[in-house]
């Protein structure tokens, strides 16, 4: 279970998160919507431990431990995964090598045995196939020269292999064509289960047609201003965010 309690965070002098409260029980998928600049990506970075974000108040408990004290790599080992809004390019670093290094780092931290190259490739190939990606994806350098949609799919490939307990998807749907959207949704739905939960950040209902959320939250000006069932997304699509701040 993820519990965010009265979370305040700032970048430099600027307070971006101004008291976020949010609970995501195991097995549930919650959507976060909200206007540009509301702090959605900031929330995802604070949760995964990026430098430069200062938490001034509040706590984040995941699986019973305060993860704000952990470095990003330990949060990953604890089960957190962030699919980036803007995935980062790593020139010269092969995708397969990157994935195996990451997977083994996490397995090591969890006290599991590392995978050798053969075992890993078997896993990776299966994941590539299930995401309808070309196999040469594994040979290419991480995100270098990938199209926008390919980068997003690569995030999903990583998620499929790392098998997180809590996935944060930051606008994974933006830049995807309709088929890719479906594939990404399938990828998330495949992980669904009593031990998996997700925060899906999006601007559009169309993703939520495929990944049906248990709860929809609206983040505006650094606070959750409304939460409701999946129908809330439809309402937002019809009326926009106007007037929500006051609510």
């Amino acid at each position: 279970m993820l519990e965010i309690k009265n979370l305040h965070a700032r970048i430099g002098e600027k307070e971006i998160l101004r008291g976020v409260n949010l609970v995501v029980p195991d097995g549930e998928i919650h959507a976060i919507m909200g206007p540009n600049g509301a702090g959605k990506s900031t929330l995802s970075y604070v949760l995964s431990g990026r430098d430069g974000y200062e938490v001034t108040e509040g706590e984040v408990i995941y699986d019973g431990q305060n993860i704000l004290e952990l470095p990003p790599e330990d949060r990953a080992a604890a089960g957190l995964f962030l699919a980036f809004q803007y995935p980062v390019e790593l020139p010269g670093v092969g995708n397969a090598n990157f994935l195996r290094t990451a997977l083994n780092a996490i397995r090591r931290k969890r006290g599991e045995e590392e995978l050798d190259a053969v075992a890993f490739l078997k896993l990776a190939r299966a994941a590539v196939k299930s995401l309808h990606m070309k196999e040469d994806f594994l040979k290419r350098n991480v995100n270098v020269g990938f199209s926008g949609g390919e980068k997003k799919r690569n995030e999903m490939l990583q998620m499929a292999l790392l098998q997180p307990g809590l996935a944060i998807l930051d606008e994974t749907d933006s830049g995807l064509d309709i088929d890719a959207l479906k594939i990404v949704a399938d990828g998330v739905n495949a992980l669904r289960g009593p031990k998996f939960s997700a925060l899906v950040i999006t601007h559009y209902q169309r993703l939520l047609d495929h990944i049906v959320p248990d709860v929809v939250h609206v983040l505006s000006a650094g606070r959750i201003v409304r939460s409701g069932p999946k129908e809330l997304a439809l309402e937002l699509e019809a009326h926009g965010y106007a007037g929500l701040e006051a609510a």
Binding site: P72, R75, P91, V93, T101
Partner: protein
């Protein structure tokens, strides 16, 4: 942290820093004609070689250390060094007679000299301070007609070859350190690949400096006759000592018609401690002559060690259609300084050269690429491609690129690209969010940066080099 803990930590970083306790024979400190005569006599050299040494010594006395490199160090007192140190026991005739203490040393360095335990397909010449202590797989090689032996032995057994080629690529007066080396060189490897022979295994020399206050002056000579080919690898380590130690080697390569020489170096001399104390001064002259038509010489180097590196492996592209390549990774951390690069001298028609240089600087280090591409009037159709990339880690270090181009032929094509970048915060965070530690993330990104060079190394050593890059950067970030 206690001193022993500190030491343990430092040793973890430079795991080759141990010393070997073994009875040594050394000549008196300092350099003069008598020392040179003693070295020559010790090796039972013919008179022509002694005279050659003495001429080099006379030349050296009149020369000055070069000052054009971007390097700073206190003056070196050449009279305070030992110029010859060797294990006291008589030279072993076969591997079984090698001092067990030495075998253990090389085992610890990951270079088992026992042929059964050795890396498959790699023959090793092990040079310990001033002498070669063992050469493996000699029989296998001699069946193929390949000569691979200590150069002191080649002087005795193959004097005609040594006399013809020694100093033919790097003349005695080439530079200060080459002159010094010519006067006092004590051992190194000699390789001759006869016409039409592809050397059946990788050849390698492993240099180890052990004795205190001793300079190492090895000399390597590799000749590939017509249509012959060979891949050669050099590795080096030294104990951790507070004093700086001098290493001034000369390597000469000669490639005849259609011959190919691939020379790879993984240089891991002791770099000094985090405060810049100790470490090897590495002043090395490496040059290859592509004498024959369509011959090819390829240098690949991974330079992570030494307090100071001064080194420009070069190619003289004499034969028409000959090819020169230089692939380099130079990594400096803490207070290390490297001034390294290459010279590609195009003399023949349709000669081509490729230069790929990757410089990585961390800590307070300074890393300079210095290169010369020279195209003579006769070298019509010559082509060069140069790419120099620098990666900075932190903001206390320096990276410099000094490319010289001299083109006297209108039909020649010379291309140069250069970039400087930093490891970006978003790259590090991206890796860490996937579970990689900060250090693993840096290692991964740096190895990616060096990929175009590392893929040129023989497989077995590429993996070693990757690890070395990561280890050398430990503590440089965060």
């Amino acid at each position: 942290m206690s001193t022993t803990e500190m030491q343990a930590l430092a040793e973890q970083k430079y795991k080759y820093g141990f010393t070997t306790e073994i009875e040594m024979e050394a000549f008196p400190r300092g350099l003069n004609e008598d020392i040179i005569r003693m070295i020559s006599a010790k090796k039972e050299e013919p008179d022509w070689l002694l005279q050659w040494r003495l001429k080099a010594y006379a030349a050296w006395l009149e020369m000055e250390e070069p000052h054009w490199a971007k390097l700073h160090h206190p003056p070196i007192d050449y009279q305070d060094l030992y110029y010859y140190a060797a294990p006291a026991k008589a030279q072993p005739k076969s591997l079984d007679e090698v001092d067990p203490e030495l075998l253990k040393t090389y085992e610890k360095l990951g270079i088992p000299l026992n042929e059964r335990a050795a890396l498959a397909g790699v023959a090793v010449d092990a040079v310990f301070d001033s002498v070669s202590v063992a050469t493996t797989f000699r029989e296998t090689l001699s069946k193929a007609g390949v000569i691979f032996c200590p150069i002191s032995e080649a002087v005795r057994e193959h004097p005609e070859l040594v006399r013809e080629y020694l100093g033919s690529v790097v003349p005695v007066r080439d530079n200060y350190f080459a002159a010094l080396n010519s006067a006092v060189f004590s051992d190194g490897s000699f390789v001759y690949i006869p016409k039409g022979v592809r050397c059946p295994m990788e050849l390698s020399t492993y240099f180890r400096i052990n004795a205190k206050n001793t300079g190492q002056f090895e000399r390597t000579l590799i000749i590939a006759d017509e249509a012959a080919s060979v891949s050669y690898l050099e590795g080096c380590t030294a104990p951790m000592r507070d004093e700086n130690q001098l290493h001034a080697a000369v390597v000469e390569l000669v490639a005849m018609d259609e011959a190919k020489i691939k020379y790879s170096t993984v240089q891991n001399w002791y770099p000094g401690d985090a405060e810049g104390k100790g470490g090897i001064y590495n002043f090395v002259t490496k040059r290859g002559a592509c004498r024959g038509r369509n011959s090819k010489i390829s240098w690949t180097q991974v330079e992570t060690g030494s307090a100071i590196t001064w080194k420009y492996p070069s190619c003289i592209l004499q034969g028409d259609g000959s090819v020169g390549e230089f692939y380099s990774v130079a990594l400096t951390n803490n207070y290390q300084q490297a001034d390294t690069g290459t010279k590609m001298i195009h003399l023949g028609k349709n000669t081509t050269s490729t230069i790929i240089s990757k410089g990585i600087s961390a800590g307070h280090s300074n890393n300079t690429y210095r290169g010369l591409v020279k195209i003579s009037a006769a070298a019509s159709g010559a082509r060069n491609f140069t790419q120099c990339d620098s990666l900075l880690i932190g903001d206390q270090c320096g990276a410099h690129t000094v490319p010289y181009i001299e083109n006297r032929n209108m039909s020649a094509k010379v291309e140069h690209e250069a970039t400087t970048s930093k490891i970006a915060e978003d790259q590090l965070f991206y890796c860490r969010s996937r579970g990689l530690s900060q250090e693993d993330a840096v290692g991964l990104i740096v190895n990616g940066f060096c990929k175009d060079v590392l893929k040129e190394l023989p497989m077995e050593f590429a993996v070693e080099a990757q690890k070395l890059l990561s280890v050398s950067l430990e503590g440089s970030v965060g």
